[in-house]
């Protein structure tokens, strides 16, 4: 098929899509029953927030595609300043193809504004920040004529570093509106048809007497005649690969460097101007809620679909083309220069120890593990989600930043469960992720797989096109959204209730005569989380809890200093007592203030007598 024909089909499909969108206009009062494009989501957010005096809508930044990154701030306006209240942050759709996250975020907003008693109690004392769609440019691809599952934003990026940008994306050759994969008979191919499920492919294992017979590609042609197919897609950078913890340097979709994108910088600027954020819930393709960190603090292993990996492998040697060994004569070849072999750039005997220096934490601190387990239990109980489909390695993911660098309890979930396969269908223990996901989805009646169909390819000859449909393995059916969203709303209420809340519970004044008094004050953390996780202390990301007596420092004559700090105060009603011996005038009043960065502020006034 020629490219021209493909373009004609796309324009036809665009019409169909436009008609569908017009029919499914946003239902302002109702609940989500469809995935929403940017305009649809914007309209919903406007409608929901304008109907409430506890919610406000603003934009924290604009994408390259000119779309706003919406923020909904939800709190009861009568009360202390929201910037001092304990805060929960909810973020969705960091990965461009994970739209369920923005759908859940919207439902969470609705739930919090529903007026239920438990939701109201959260909003009185706390604030919830919701960023429903961090990667709106990529999300829009789900609503385009060709659904490619594009995860990266709209930044032009030379993925294959050949001096040409975004020049060889996938093409919908068979005109079914979806980018799937191509399998091509190839006697030198590495893959074979999986005998257990003949729609799936597996790597041939010569040791088992298996012979490869196919090579797989992403659906498309070699647009730039470089011998590779679909090696430089439109866009960009996957925002959930662009953050600072375990960043995949120079990796696919990771961008030129950490926080390189308008979207990630907007989120970072929001974080550092809202240090009252005490917990994070991010929707994404990595999980630490269904499976909390294990006893070593590690996340569950990744499980990704082989089919896509096999197709990507056709471009695996992209960066080897054009790498030539050095010429024989001259140059900096081995031994070609200096030849001494001695260490230059050194001071023998005075060098620093290469093993010295602290390294960043890469696993959850053991002292923090139980909090993750408890939240996981609550999540599973409330949402009923116990089974995860695909689970991506969390390199550069935002929620990892949230714990490892921002220092707060930080969670990520796909936001839905892979349906259980029919119980009568006994599955073997070693089945592939592909088989497990396919069985689960199809068992629930979800159309997840485009059957292989023959196609005459301009470069490759006779091929078959088929495979997992984009978005289907990452997102639940639209009909499940409203129920799933409501349950996530309930979970958010529970999670917000766990935030630390520091308040004065007791004071005592003892007069010693001569204007000398002992003042004692006791604070309590009424929340569940400590004022700082252990890693918050270790990483110095969370400020100590501060208690300060409002007198001249010179009048504090013994005991504590005017300002006293404790690194953390556990939750569930744990208390801490502070004592000062001060000089003062009998009958005078003295204010004592407490401030926990993640646990709010409080003050109490005592009288010296």
């Amino acid at each position: 098929m020629s490219l021209t024909r493909w373009k004609q089909r796309r324009s036809l499909a665009l019409w169909v899509s436009a008609i569908l969108l017009a029919v499914s206009a946003p239902d302002v009062l109702g609940q989500t029953n469809a995935y929403l494009d940017f305009d649809g989501l914007t309209a919903e957010l406007r409608a929901v927030t304008s109907a409430s005096n506890s919610a406000s809508l603003s934009s924290i930044g604009t994408t390259l595609g000119g779309r706003d990154i919406w923020l909904v701030e939800i709190a009861n306006p009568s009360g202390g300043p929201t910037s001092e209240r304990p805060a929960l942050l909810v973020v969705g759709n960091l990965e461009g193809d994970h739209l369920v996250g923005s759908s859940h975020a919207l439902e969470i907003v609705r739930h919090l504004l529903s007026g239920s008693a438990d939701a109201r109690s959260v909003l009185d004392d706390q604030v919830v920040y919701v960023l429903p769609r961090l990667n709106p440019d990529a999300a829009e691809v789900m609503f385009s004529a060709v659904r490619s599952g594009q995860a990266g934003n709209s930044r032009p990026f030379d993925d294959d570093n050949d001096g040409r940008v975004d020049e060889d994306g996938p093409e919908d050759l068979n005109g079914d509106g979806a980018i799937t994969v191509m399998r091509v008979p190839d006697s030198r191919g590495a893959y074979m048809i999986d005998p257990d499920e003949t729609r799936l492919m597996k790597q041939a294992d010569a040791k088992k007497g298996e012979t490869g017979a196919f090579t797989l590609y992403w659906e498309g042609v070699d647009s730039d005649d470089d011998g590779f197919i679909a090696e430089d897609w439109p866009g960009g950078v996957d925002i959930n690969r662009n953050f600072q913890h375990d960043y995949p340097y120079y990796g696919h979709l990771a961008g030129p460097h950490m926080t390189s994108e308008a979207e990630s910088r907007a989120l970072m600027d929001f974080m550092i101007s809202h240090r009252n954020i005490g917990a994070i819930l991010a929707f994404g393709q990595s999980d630490n809620l269904v499976t909390p960190p294990n006893s070593s603090g590690a996340l569950a292993d990744e499980s990704v679909l082989d089919l896509g990996q096999f197709a990507s492998a056709s471009n695996g040697d992209l960066f080897d083309v054009g790498v030539f060994s050095r010429s024989g004569g001259g140059g900096f070849g081995f031994g070609g220069f200096g030849g001494g072999g001695g260490l230059r750039g050194a001071q023998p005997g005075r060098d620093n120890d290469p093993n010295s220096g602290r390294r960043p934490a890469t696993s959850v601190d053991k002292a923090d593990l139980e909090y993750f387990t408890a939240v996981s239990d609550a999540y599973k109980e409330i949402t009923g989600i116990e089974r995860v489909g695909v689970n991506r390695k969390a390199e550069g993911a935002f929620f990892q930043y949230g714990y490892f660098q921002f220092g707060v309890p930080s969670f990520s979930t796909q936001g839905w469960a892979l349906p259980e396969p029919d119980s009568t269908d006994a599955s073997s223990g070693d089945e592939s992720t592909d088989a497990r996901v396919l069985k689960g989805l199809e068992g629930a009646g979800i159309d997840a797989f485009a059957p292989w169909t023959s196609f005459s390819h301009p470069d490759l000859g006779d091929v078959e096109i088929g495979g997992f449909l984009p978005y289907v393995t990452e997102n639940p059916p639209a009909s499940d959204l409203s129920d799933l969203g409501r349950r996530h709303g309930e979970f958010v209420v529970r999670l917000a209730g766990m935030l630390p809340r520091v308040r004065f519970v007791e004071t005592e004044v003892t007069a010693h005569g001569g204007g000398v008094f002992t003042v004692e004050a006791e604070i309590e953390n009424a929340g569940y989380f400590p004022t700082s996780l252990e890693h918050g202390v270790v990483s110095r990301a969370v400020q100590p809890t501060t208690v300060q007596i409002q007198v001249d420092p010179a009048d504090v004559i013994s005991g504590g200093t005017k300002t006293m700090q404790i690194r953390q105060l556990a939750g569930s009603g744990t208390r801490e007592r502070f004592t000062w011996v001060i000089r003062g005038r009998s009958g005078a009043t003295v204010e004592i203030r407490a401030r926990a960065q993640k646990g709010g502020t409080d003050s109490v006034t005592i009288t010296l007598r």
């Binding site: 054009g322 001071q347 960043p360 401030r595």
Partner: protein, 596 residues
């Protein structure tokens, strides 16, 4: 006039007198041959180099230079610093020899730490020297014609002015407010010049029999630690200041409080691993402005960031965990660095983590790893230069002598700087500490070279960056040959040569895919096959190039330093073909070959 000098001796004297006056008439004397009353040429722009300039003066001097040499210089600001000061950048380019991007670029920056001031003057001196000597010194003329220079004298103008205008303490940082003591307030308790003498001094308190310091027998200005088991009469209470915020602590949250050179995107680490790194890479407006600029200038192949002090020619990596650079890149750095050691007495060529300390997220790690630029950072000024002869350095090792240790520094100040850098201890009644004494060195002592030693420091360091710039890649076409093999097919061989030390693409740049591959294109004929010739003097097979488009061969590994590669084409055509080697870093070399 010269013809008239052939007259009689008496007449010659008269003529000489006339010639003397004629020198003051502008017309007859070409500018570059102008000579003063002595033998040395007058400067086009006479500037002095013996005082430190603040931000406004740097801007004025750069504007003046741009006005003086408008055909080569263009001044721009990369944006404002946090405090609203321009980030002045001078581009030196001769448009007659091609646009900026067609030539390898050398980026020179300085003063990222506000107190490390002298690199700005080295940078200004470099612009000035290149311009003054263009057309006068052949090597300088060639450099300016072949290369582009980008010169940013002060990365941290807020810190610079804070250092120069204020008392000088705590000027390393940039000026974004940071809550250094975790009390929710920012920058609320810094040092204070209590006695109003313009210096942040040290505070010492006399505590007879209870201290850990005593006054030296040799020099009463020197406080020295007492031996183990002994007690002294003095303690140090820190820098001059009071408890500004009434929290019972002194000087615990001064201005800023971060390290502007830990905010770059290679091996960036959070604060608890790398103090002062801020929250994310390129969060700082200054670092971000520089990186945004670097991203638009892929021709930049050399980078120098001037710091102080210690006398070092530093290269990355800043830390050891990920191992050293690839061997071929190390070879490049070694040759440049060791030549630098011979140009800069008292300077050592060192790897940052190995010879200095571990640095995460430093600028030259990013330019090397993320942009494929061969990068150095010179630590300007070495204390060994105070007494710069073998004889005096021998004397310094005598602990009893007058120039050893702390006494040596005071000796230098007494005899060479006439006491300009030291404030005598004097009593002071401190609001928090009671009766104390305050005194000590002024801000310029120690890390900044004495002014009278500036010229040599500026020139030698400039010379090293010019050498670095000259060794940036510059592909050229070497020998070519054509041989008809029949049927309208020709065997064409072309040598591609890089005479310089630095490759067109470093191995690190290739591994990280951050430099566009070099492209070898053929126009005017059809390429049937292409392959590298391992040794053109020895018959044998070629290494066939397995690429789809042989008219546009991609060379990800670039052209190494000191390398000649021979490419053999089988070409079908007639007339002439043009073969072109195009490197982002180093420019284009092209040849036209007649097929016959």
């Amino acid at each position: 006039m010269k013809t008239r000098q052939t007259g009689a001796p008496a007449l010659r004297l008269v003529v000489a007198g006339f010639a003397f006056f004629a020198l003051f008439l502008p017309a007859p004397v070409p500018a570059q041959q102008a000579t003063g009353v002595g033998s040395d040429p007058e400067h086009t722009l006479p500037l002095t180099w013996d005082r430190w300039l603040d931000h406004a003066e740097i801007g004025q001097r750069m504007q003046l230079m741009e006005r003086t040499w408008p055909e080569f210089l263009s001044l721009q600001s990369l944006g404002d610093s946090y405090g609203g000061r321009e980030m002045w950048l001078m581009t030196i380019n001769n448009p007659e020899t091609g646009p900026e991007l067609s030539k390898a670029g050398m980026f020179i920056e300085a003063n990222v730490h506000g107190n490390e001031i002298q690199g700005a003057e080295v940078s200004l001196y470099t612009i000035w020297y290149l311009m003054e000597n263009y057309g006068r010194i052949d090597e300088i003329t060639r450099l300016v014609d072949e290369r582009v220079f980008y010169v940013l004298p002060s990365v941290n103008p807020d810190g610079r002015d804070y250092f120069l205008h204020g008392a000088g303490s705590g000027a390393r940082t940039g000026h974004i407010p940071v809550d250094s003591d975790g009390d929710g307030l920012m920058d609320e308790d810094g040092p204070d010049d209590l006695n109003g003498n313009g210096v942040i001094e040290q505070i010492r308190k006399h505590v007879p029999g209870q201290g850990n310091l005593r006054i030296s027998q040799e020099d009463p200005r020197v406080l020295e630690p007492v031996g183990i088991g002994e007690t002294g009469d003095w303690i140090i209470l820190g820098s001059e200041g009071v408890d500004n915020d009434g929290d019972g602590r002194v000087n615990e949250d001064p201005i800023g409080g971060y390290d502007p050179n830990r905010n770059y995107a290679s091996d960036w680490q959070p604060n608890y691993i790398q103090g002062g790194s801020m929250d994310y890479p390129f969060q700082l407006p200054e670092a971000r402005a520089i990186n945004d600029f670097l991203m638009t200038r892929p021709n930049i192949a050399g980078f120098q960031s001037f710091h102080n002090s210690g006398g070092m020619i530093l290269r990355g990596p800043g830390m050891a965990w990920y191992g050293d650079y690839p061997a071929q890149d190390v070879g490049v750095y070694d040759e440049l660095g060791e030549t630098g050691e011979r140009m800069l007495p008292y300077y050592n060529y060192l790897v940052i983590w190995r010879g200095l300390y571990t640095v995460h997220g430093g600028s030259i790690d990013w330019t090397n790893d993320g942009l494929g630029i061969v990068s150095f950072s010179n630590e300007l000024w070495n204390g060994g230069q105070y007494f710069g002869s073998p004889l005096l350095q021998e004397q310094q090792t005598n602990a009893e002598g007058p120039i050893s240790g702390r006494q040596g520094t005071l000796f230098f100040d007494d005899f060479l700087e006439f006491g300009d850098e030291y404030v005598e201890w004097a009593p002071f009644d401190h609001p928090d500490f009671g009766p104390v004494e305050m005194g000590g060195y002024k801000k310029l002592q120690g890390r900044v070279n004495p002014r009278f030693m500036s010229m040599e420091l500026f020139h030698r360091n400039m010379a090293f960056t010019l050498y670095h710039a000259d060794e940036m890649p510059k592909p050229r076409i070497g020998e070519t040959s054509v041989e008809a093999v029949g049927g309208g097919v020709y065997r064409v061989r072309v040598d591609f040569v890089n005479d310089k030390v630095i490759p067109t693409i470093t191995v690190k740049g290739q591994q990280n895919h951050v430099v566009r591959p070099d492209l070898i294109t053929v126009q005017g004929a059809e390429v049937i096959a292409a392959g590298w010739v391992p040794n053109k003097h020895r018959p044998g097979p070629t290494d066939m190039i397995d690429q789809e488009q042989l008219g546009r061969i991609m060379v990800r590994s670039g052209l190494a330093g000191h390398e000649t590669r021979t490419l053999e084409y089988l070409i079908r055509g007639s007339g002439s073909v043009t073969v072109r080697y195009d490197a982002v870093k180093g420019g284009v070399a092209e040849t036209t070959i007649q097929l016959r």
